[in-house]
């Protein structure tokens, strides 16, 4: 699928290059060149909108604010201070990105639509500033903006400027594609599919959304700069509300989830606008843009790019993605842990942990330790509080009292992503795979904690390539280790349930966990699959990974575990070696429903 995406992207690039090369030759007059320049200027920012809206799921309703900063920075710096246009363009981008960071970093914590409204408010504030200050030229704006030149080369000729603008579009697309295919792109898609699972592999969602916001702001700013150099003037109406709307509509028509689609959408919008003007229907612009937004979202949520891509898939029959071969666990070897935990210290220590939901005491005062390198099973009847305890250890729930120590460090206050960063992996009882990615990409997400998340090296492809190869290699290894080969390019949803479980285990293993938490891994599996699972768990432990498994299936547990902790009604009722625990009256009572003979509380 990744290769397929590459090939599609290559075809798109080729078509774009041809279109950009041919257009000025076919339409050499200044009107058409101007339309092409406007389309290019807009395409720079729609690429940013794809990152924001399509990838980070943040409604970019106030993007015009950042274009306005770029536009006015250029107008003022070039006209009043005689700056070089290119320097002004860069300065505008830096200003916009700084502002985007200052606004987004705190507000993104509040989630959802709030940031959309905050940026709209920012935009409307900037309009007031532009209208009210004489420095910005008031309602009349700034005129006499010079034509663009860069490094002493004049771009006064429309055709030269056209090519320069589209060169920047390709630059923006390149950056967008680098991000889309990087660990950051995967992290953002992971969040869209399942926040819990994204947390379990250590994804810091706020950080990545802020990154997209800052990059989108920078692109919007460059776009605004280019526009004012083409118009040679700016005023507050240039960057009005409809500017933002056109960006959104264009991106949606072109294809929210495709970088190339964003660029295409910008071109479509600009040509559509010109067409309406030619038809003397400028008043219809608003209705048509709004209606297109709604209709495309309802009928083709992935826009033209998604539509074309699907047709291409069908024609090329690229869905032939290989046959899945299930092998014995461990068919592909994995490196054992380089520094396995030492045996003399308590590895995971749960001390006096309690958690109540209202008046229900789901977990009350539970204490036990998990030795390094061992397989510990946490068992108990339904409603015993096992999964709650699991979620407390993993940081998915906050505890009311108690301490959880991992290798001597208190972790009970950490959010899941930080717990994962320490090397604690987990699987979920109800599978939480990222259904918007292939099996391989799912497992690659497991490597998140080993990857660079700095956006600059990724955007400029300084770190990404070598890193990606390593990630892919590790992911394939993990898939082979769990005994699932040939499934890489499938979407997880098409696999049988038992295979999906293996994918999730592979994802957790790709994290190179020191401790692996498995929540009822055998549920939904048949006997053969359960046997394989038992063997797999033993092999995982042999890598030096400590395993804590919550399980219902007594047979699985008794044959597997070195140590068993039994819970009932939120309390720990027994602990010890499997054979010892099996004989405890309290355990028998809990499982068979007898009245427990005077159990110690």
């Amino acid at each position: 699928m990744v290769l397929l995406a590459r090939r599609k992207s290559l075809i798109a690039a080729l078509l774009f290059v041809i279109a950009v090369a041919v257009y000025p030759l076919a339409f050499p007059d200044s009107y058409h060149l101007g339309v092409g320049i406007s389309a290019g200027a807009m395409a720079v920012s729609t690429v940013g909108v794809v990152l924001l809206l399509g990838l980070a799921h943040q409604l970019a309703i106030g993007q015009a604010a950042f274009s306005m900063i770029g536009g006015y920075a250029n107008a003022i710096l070039c006209v009043r201070y005689g700056w070089d246009p290119f320097a002004a363009l860069l300065a505008g981008a830096v200003m916009a990105m700084a502002l985007a960071y200052v606004v987004a970093a705190p507000i993104l914590k509040l989630r959802g639509f709030v940031l959309a409204m905050a940026t709209l408010a920012l935009h409307l504030m900037l309009i007031v500033v532009a209208v009210e200050l004489s420095f910005t030229g008031g309602p009349m704006g700034v005129t006499g903006i010079p034509k663009f030149h860069v490094f002493g080369i004049s771009l006064a000729d429309d055709r030269a400027f056209f090519w320069f603008v589209w060169l920047l579009v390709f630059g923006a697309v390149w950056i967008g594609l680098n991000i889309d295919r990087s660990a950051i792109g995967r992290a953002l898609r992971a969040i869209a599919a399942s926040e819990q699972a994204a947390g379990s592999v250590g994804v810091d969602i706020t950080r990545h959304k802020v990154q997209m916001f800052v990059i989108g702001g920078g692109m919007a700013s460059v776009s605004g700069s280019l526009l004012v150099h083409y118009l040679r003037a700016t005023d507050p109406t240039v960057f009005g509300f409809s500017y933002s709307i056109n960006l959104i509509t264009g991106t949606i028509i072109g294809g929210l989830t495709s970088i190339w689609g964003g660029a295409l959408g910008a071109a479509i919008i600009i040509f559509l606008r010109e067409l309406l003007r030619d038809l003397a229907l400028p008043l219809w612009e608003s209705v048509i843009m709004g209606a297109l937004t709604v209709i495309v979202l309802i009928a083709f949520p992935r826009g033209i790019a998604g539509f074309v891509s699907r047709i291409y898939d069908r024609m090329a029959n690229e869905r032939e993605v290989g046959r899945v071969v299930v092998t014995e666990p461990g068919a592909v070897a994995m490196q054992p842990l380089a520094n396995p935990p030492m045996s003399h210290q308590p590895f995971l220590e749960v001390a006096g942990v309690s958690r109540a939901f209202g008046s229900l005491r789901a977990v009350s005062n539970v204490s036990f330790t998990v030795g390094p390198g061992a397989i510990t099973a946490l068992i108990g009847p339904n409603g015993a509080g096992k999964t709650t305890l699991f979620n407390l250890i993993g940081g998915y729930l906050t505890l009311d009292a108690g301490v959880v120590r991992f290798e001597g460090r208190e972790i009970q206050a950490l959010p899941p992503r930080d717990v994962a960063q320490l090397g604690i992996g987990r699987t979920f009882q109800n599978l939480q795979l990222f259904d918007n990615m292939t099996v391989l990409e799912n497992v690659m997400c497991g490597q998140h904690r080993f990857t660079t998340h700095a956006v600059l090296p990724i955007a400029l492809r300084l770190a990404a390539q070598r890193q990606e190869a390593g990630i892919r290699h590790a992911a394939l290894e993990a898939l082979g280790f769990v005994g699932l080969q040939g499934a890489e390019q499938h979407e997880p949803a098409v696999l049988p349930f038992g295979h999906q479980r293996l994918v999730e285990i592979a994802r957790a293993l790709a994290l190179r966990p020191r401790l692996l938490l498995m929540d009822e891994p055998a549920s939904g599996l048949n006997d053969t699959e359960t046997e394989r699972l038992a063997e797999l768990i033993v092999r995982i432990a042999a890598l030096g990974v400590t395993v804590l498994v919550v399980e219902h299936d007594m047979r699985l547990v008794m044959g597997l575990a070195d140590h068993v902790v039994v819970m009932d009604h939120g309390e720990m009722i027994a602990e010890g070696a499997p054979d010892v625990v099996r004989g405890e009256p309290a355990v028998i009572a809990a499982y068979l429903g007898q009245e427990a003979p005077a159990r110690a509380a």
Binding site: P106, L110, G112, F113, A118, V128, V294, L297, P301
Partner: protein, 295 residues
């Protein structure tokens, strides 16, 4: 401080605040039953004012024009939910919200085509006279705005409190999932709530138009200011949303009076930004999603 000057600012602020309050109320009610922030909320106000003024321009009787404008608000609200939101219900949340933005733009565009670019006006319901409150001069129309708002609020809150449908709406605002499990017909409820908030918005637009003119592009301001009111009120409780909306009206008027009318919007939007930055930066360190109420 001169009380007369202060009153001369506060009372008109209260009048526009009434409109923001009703928009804020609509925001919260729609979000509670559908989980979607309806960015078209302010467009209902614009629609009501424009429709009434345009219909009266066609020589429709005054009362009939008002009724038609209000019914139009209700119809458009219901239509929005039924036609544009129901089909994207299973899409990600941001797509649903984007759909409401698109719908808002359509409403603006249609109004522009039908009624034209120029701002329209309405005569005061009982003449264009004025009255005095402790020396402050107010147009008589203010009384209509206050009265209409009071009636609409009373109506909405007794609907929420005393009718079955209203109780269902409140159940949804506490826990949408649980309410659905308890047999609340969420689909029907959404259409009703969108219709009600459309009608409230439109009627607010009708009564405010004699004071501020109606224009095709006025909805955006009503949306943003009503939204700010709702956010300041926590975006969950209808009552605090109303207070938030009133506060924005007063703040805006004070800003216009003591700073300048050009900068009043800057002040209001600045308050929103500052509030959000403080909430995100200080109060909510690590606790995500607490103010939004939405999913």
């Amino acid at each position: 401080m001169d009380t007369t000057v202060l009153l001369q600012l506060l009372l008109p602020g209260l009048t526009t605040g009434c409109v923001y309050a009703l928009v804020a109320l609509g925001f919260v009610l729609c979000a509670n039953v559908s989980g979607v922030v309806n960015f078209a909320q302010g467009e209902f106000v614009m629609l009501g004012g424009m429709a009434a003024a345009w219909l009266i321009g066609l020589d429709l009787p005054f009362v009939l024009a008002i009724l038609v404008a209000t019914a139009l608000g209700a119809g458009v609200g219901a239509l929005q939910e039924f036609l544009t939101l129901a089909p994207v219900r299973r899409q990600p949340h941001f797509i649903q919200i984007t759909t409401t933005v698109g719908f808002a733009v359509v409403l603006r565009g249609i109004t522009l085509i039908v009624a034209g670019k120029d701002a329209l006006s309405l005569p005061g319901f009982s003449g264009d006279g004025v009255f005095f409150v402790f020396g402050a001069i107010l147009p008589v129309q203010s009384l209509w705005v206050w009265g209409a708002t009071l009636l609409l609020l009373l109506g909405t809150f007794s609907f929420l409190r005393y009718t079955n449908v209203g109780r269902a709406v409140r159940a949804c605002s506490i826990n949408l999932q649980a309410a659905r499990l308890m047999g609340v017909n969420a689909e029907r409820l959404r259409v009703i709530v969108f219709a009600v908030s459309g009608a409230t918005g439109a009627l607010a637009g009708v009564v405010i138009t004699p004071l501020v003119l109606a224009s095709w592009d006025a909805g955006l301001t009503y949306s943003t200011k009503g939204f700010i009111g709702a956010i300041l009120g926590g975006f969950r409780s209808p009552a605090t949303a109303v207070l938030g909306g009133l506060f924005i009206g007063l703040l805006e008027s004070l800003g216009a009076g003591y700073v300048s009318s050009g900068w009043k919007d800057f002040i209001v939007y600045g308050v929103l930004l500052a509030w959000l930055l403080i909430q995100g930066g200080v109060f909510l360190r690590g606790r995500a999603g607490a103010v939004t109420g939405g999913p």
